[in-house]
């Protein structure tokens, strides 16, 4: 494989990592509170607000059921508003974030709901405020689940990022399609797939390790 092609792969890997990292960070900042709210706002819960819970639930479901490639195209005006442009890696972060946020919110909700309700009641009985319960009980107790949830989200984002070539987002998936498929260069396709596999493996292994590290429920660490 020529030096030029290798440079292309390195560049595309950089673009993918950039898009995925920024989108994952922003989506976590948005999705974490959203997920915590979804997990604590049903009837009788910590921040009980059933109507808000219902409405947010519908929005989250709608966002999650829209195919990503359609989402990318559909929100082009919004992307232009936020990023100033609708093409390139920077612009691609917008749809990636919008797709990942509800996904992370649902994963966070599931992880938070795993926390024993008895612990919430215990903290309440000590006079803890709802916010104290979130920060001192729910998040620390759900941490292993949260780490795994974010790992899963990052892996999914790597998959989504292959589709942003449609708006000139670049990245590994785009490279694979343009060179490997359209120019019929199987070695390029193979190289892209190998890099993606390596990335996913690295992310998953790191996530699993971290989740184990923060899990005190296991006796033999």
């Amino acid at each position: 494989m020529s030096r030029e092609l290798i440079n292309l792969i390195v560049q595309a890997t950089g673009e993918s990592l950039f898009m995925v990292t920024v989108a994952a960070l922003v989506a976590t900042v948005l999705g974490l509170p959203l997920g915590i709210f979804l997990a604590t706002s049903r009837k009788g819960e910590l921040f009980a607000a059933p109507p808000a819970n219902g409405i947010l639930g519908v929005i989250v479901n709608a966002a999650r059921s829209t195919p990503f490639i359609i989402l990318v195209v559909a929100i082009i005006p919004f992307t232009r508003l936020i990023a100033g442009t609708s093409i390139g890696s920077g612009a691609a972060i917008v749809p990636l974030t919008i797709a990942a946020t509800p996904f992370i919110a649902r994963l966070v909700e599931a992880a938070i709901r795993e926390v024993d309700a008895g612990l919430i009641e215990t903290a309440s009985s000590f006079g803890a405020s709802p916010l104290q319960i979130v920060f001192k009980v729910l998040i620390p107790e759900a941490l292993p689940g949260l780490v795994l949830a974010l790992t899963l989200a990052v892996v999914s984002l790597l998959g989504y990022s292959a589709m942003v070539g449609a708006v000139g987002g670049g990245g590994l998936g785009d490279l694979g399609i343009r060179y490997g498929y359209q120019r019929f260069m199987p070695e390029m396709m193979l190289a892209v797939v190998v890099v993606l596999i390596a990335l996913v493996q690295t992310v998953q292994t790191a996530g699993d390790y971290l989740a184990r590290r923060v899990n005190r429920r296991l006796r033999n660490r």
């Binding site: 009641e121 215990t122 903290a123 000590f126 620390p140 005190r216 006796r219």
Partner: protein
């Protein structure tokens, strides 16, 4: 502290003020005034009257047992005391403050003076023993330095100073409950609520934990409320008891009085459970309902209190001029009183049996005829 000492302590305790205090009494730590709790109907479930017309007081510094079957309303009662739930009507007053009328920040401040321990310990798996104990102090806004000092004191108090950096998953049930107790006492509450705190522990550990609670009550003067379905817990630790059934307090008073003279069927059931005074199977199979020629009438005599029971066999033998046979006996000590039953075989036919029944009822000793044996 071993069992013997704990029993001695029970006996030498000065009599506590009666639990049936008038509502205005100043030495009540917790007071229920006409409290009822109704859970409204929800979807296909009808409304539930968890508690009705609860009117009683828990004396300051006492250890009071609240005993009842599951679903009797115990959990609702305890959740009303620490303000996790509001009564549908009536007032709950804890240490002079009407907790049932508080909300928000005021309620949270009051809750810090009420500690609670739980059946399943409810420790945070993500925190070490020391950090679990620190949790209520962090919530109350203590400084880091003050927390460190207080946590050491508490670890020593509950006897697990060496478990400072252990996570709950590395500890036994008894050790976890000790952390639970230390955590509940962290903010120096004057009330400690125990919600089935020993139900998940083995008998030996239960005993150790109950001894610890007795020490805490004695040394710190903390009022302890024991919510339980186990008679043995009430028997070992409580001086006062309230029996709760179907959302009502059906009996209450000193443990010794209530269990030497149980009136309500639920109390009686708890008592026979505790002292195991059912008729042994080996005996039941031999008992026939018809008199047996040359056999004995079988009487079960209830032993309630010291004088009556201890001498019943000797006294009956003298009265009847026959040797009364002791077929089975089970006598236990509850609150310093002897409680149990003896099953006697009365020889000498119907006349002697009748005479024995008359004698016992004259002396107000409860008795029932079970049948006859050869």
């Amino acid at each position: 502290m071993n069992v013997h000492q704990s029993l001695t302590t029970v006996q030498t305790f000065a009599p506590l003020p009666s639990i049936s205090l008038p509502s205005g009494a100043s030495d009540a730590m917790i007071r229920f005034e006409g409290v009822s709790k109704v859970y409204p109907a929800y979807r296909d479930k009808p409304s539930v009257h968890a508690l009705q017309a609860i009117d009683f007081a828990i004396p300051r510094g006492s250890i009071t047992g609240v005993i009842g079957r599951s679903g009797a309303g115990k959990s609702s009662l305890v959740r009303l005391i620490n303000g996790l739930e509001k009564p549908s009507s009536g007032r709950v007053v804890v240490d002079g403050r009407e907790i049932s009328a508080l909300a928000g920040r005021e309620l949270r401040l009051t809750q810090r003076s009420i500690g609670m321990i739980f059946q399943h310990f409810n420790l945070l798996s993500s925190r070490t023993a020391a950090d679990n104990i620190a949790l209520p102090l962090e919530i109350a806004g203590w400084s880091r330095a003050d927390i460190a000092v207080r946590v050491e004191e508490l670890l020593a108090l509950v006897g697990i100073a060496d478990k400072h950096d252990r996570y709950p998953s590395e500890l036994s049930g008894g050790q976890k409950q000790r952390i639970g107790i230390a955590r509940a006492l962290a903010t120096r509450p004057n009330v400690l609520l125990s919600d089935e705190a020993t139900s998940a522990l083995d008998p030996q550990t239960t005993r150790a934990i109950l001894d610890l609670l007795a020490n805490i009550n004695r040394e710190l003067g903390v009022t302890i409320v024991l919510i339980t379905h186990e008679m043995s817990v009430v028997r070992q630790l409580a001086k006062e008891v309230a029996v709760i059934d179907g959302g009502h307090v059906v009996e209450r008073g000193h443990v010794a009085d209530i269990f030497t003279h149980p009136r309500h069927p639920v109390t009686q059931a708890f008592l026979s459970e505790a002292i195991g005074d059912s008729v042994p199977v080996s005996l039941t199979s031999r008992i026939s309902p018809q008199p047996v020629a040359g056999g004995k009438a079988v009487l079960r005599v209830q032993v309630r209190g010291t004088e009556a029971g201890d001498t019943v066999v000797a006294r009956l033998s003298r009265e009847l001029s026959h040797d009364v046979a002791l077929l089975s006996a089970r006598i236990d000590e509850i609150g310093g009183q002897h409680v149990g039953s003896v099953i006697l075989g009365i020889p000498g036919g119907e006349a002697a049996a009748g005479q024995a029944l008359v004698y016992l009822s004259q002396h107000e000793i409860p008795v029932e005829r079970l049948g006859y044996v050869a």
